[in-house]
Symmetry: C2
Subunit: 329 residues, 2 copies
């Protein structure tokens, strides 16, 4: 019912709607309406209440709770099933559990805080409460395990486009799974999968974005290599707007990929916003280190480099550093 | 304490051990000893109890309960952590949960019955109570996802060798994951993994063996293509002996693989007992069907065939049928 009232207020944002009208529309007493309005104010909603005129929504809080997301989401697959936690160990871990229990494709787990956020290879990922976007998407595409890397590229394309659209920041992609602003990391993507030998059961795409984090909150060793949207654009951004835009663009790219089996659209975006191509790179792959120049992405999103010996080779995975970015000077 | 008594009886199998001796050895009253002996008899242990002489173990039941396995296991990694269920939906599913909770490498889940046993691609697998071996091994090797197929070959080598050693049956390997006797399937292997793009988190090896199943118990459509050890050798076999032999040989092959990073030992066994090599094969891979002749296995255990056009190609995965076996006539 709180959701219904909120939805009515949002439809009339900035305009008054009378208690009586709300009462009739939603089918509860005016006292019940009043109680829910009080709760919404406690949740951080700025609402005018003027006698004889009614209620007027001035401003929503920066919240990712379900009411906000569910009312405004426009997708038809990605995020239609949303699960929200104020705090959780890791949205990827939770998504794995949900997937094992049969959660449908497109299910999104989102949290206001991660107490055990992980980056690649189990590395710790700082995920403070209320200032970032920590979410995971469950996918069940018909793919071979070796193709899962495509989903990382698709996600990088979606997140970068969404960040640029909503915030105007100059986000770029450090192949394969980091989003960069001003040479510092603002977002990491962690793709995990459950698979049989030749068939993916499900893929979990974890997305962690530093949105309104104050750089002073980062630990010292992180501050040198990480940034936030707030630091880049100079003010706070509503996380909800970014989430909805990511889900929307992700859905477009993902449905296009399923339909065409081509990564063309995502790879075009990845090339356009790449901070890797044209630069010197250092790649740690298994037990060797490769130095070279990043030349291009293949149609599947793999990195093509010219190595020190002058030979052109294709890199499918590995730890990639780009000269001048983060810790590779 | 029941385990201690059983262990003492087993050490003296066929010989009498007095209640007093047991009482002193284990540190409980003779009445307690008597009660546990009574329970062991109810569990199916055949035990003589003769006044003034004591207790004598004649015969163990065909059980996979922990006491039996834990007392006799000789491995140091595979199966050192054993988890037994009288009945469970699927040992692979349970192994996935245990792995997610941090179960150590080598953990084995074993059940007397599966109510939702699965073969590849989610196919149903008949797993009746008390007549088969349904178990899963949790592994955490440093592997790329594409290498997981090696573990299937290693498992096929271990199971085939163990079945031959213990039962004298003429088990053969239908590449990549079926064990065959008399052209019918006696065992299936289901390898699943959790992985990041370039690193395996863990691998679950599911092994399902029809041991003492009476072929009459198979559904009609299964009877034509499935067999059991009992049908092959003409009598029942203690499942425990097979389990212990599998774990032992699996451990030898696995530790050798980790040490040498070479599949030589497993592939040698896979070639020796192959029912695929030298025969006409039909391979369903993605959306195409390949006909050809199976020529060889590579050093990594992949199948080499000569296709209808006369070209030699390497098959990494797919649904393989061998002319003359099961449903490919």
């Amino acid at each position: 019912m709180k959701k219904d009232i909120l939805e009515a207020l949002k439809q009339n944002k900035g305009k008054f709607i009378s208690g009586e009208e709300l009462s009739i529309k939603i089918g509860v007493t005016r006292t019940a309406i009043w109680k829910h309005i009080k709760q919404l104010k406690e949740d951080g909603y700025e609402i005018d209440a003027v006698s004889r005129r009614g209620y007027r929504l001035i401003q929503e809080p920066d919240t990712l709770e379900l009411n906000e997301l569910e009312i405004d989401i426009q997708t038809r697959l990605i995020g239609r099933n949303l699960i929200y936690y104020p705090s959780i160990d890791s949205t990827n871990n939770e998504a794995k559990k949900e997937a094992a229990l049969g959660a449908p494709e497109g299910t999104v787990i989102i949290a206001d805080e991660q107490t055990g956020g992980r980056g690649r290879l189990g590395r710790h990922w700082v995920s403070p409460r209320g200032t970032g976007i920590w979410m995971s998407i469950i996918l069940k595409p018909q793919l071979e395990p070796a193709e899962a890397a495509k989903i990382t590229q698709l996600t990088a394309a979606a997140v970068t486009t969404a960040l640029r659209n909503v915030t105007g920041c100059e986000a770029g992609i450090k192949w394969p799974n980091d989003i960069i602003i001003n040479k510092k990391k603002v977002c990491g993507i962690l793709t995990e999968m459950s698979a049989e030998l030749n068939t993916v059961n499900h893929i979990i795409v974890g997305i962690g974005i530093n949105v309104n984090v104050d750089p002073k909150e980062f630990p010292d060793e992180v501050r040198a290599i990480a940034t936030s949207i707030k630091e880049s654009v100079g003010h706070e951004i509503y996380r909800k707007e970014i989430v909805l835009e990511i889900l929307q663009i992700f859905e477009e790219l993902y449905l296009d990929f399923l339909r065409t089996r081509s990564m063309a659209k995502s790879v075009e975006i990845c090339k356009k916003y790449s901070v890797t191509l044209g630069n010197a790179v250092r790649i740690i792959s298994k037990d060797k280190i490769i130095f070279g120049e990043a030349l291009d992405l293949t149609e599947d999103g793999e990195l093509v480099i010219r190595n020190e010996a002058g030979a052109v080779e294709k890199i499918i995975s590995g730890e990639v550093s780009v000269r001048g970015i983060s810790d590779y000077i």
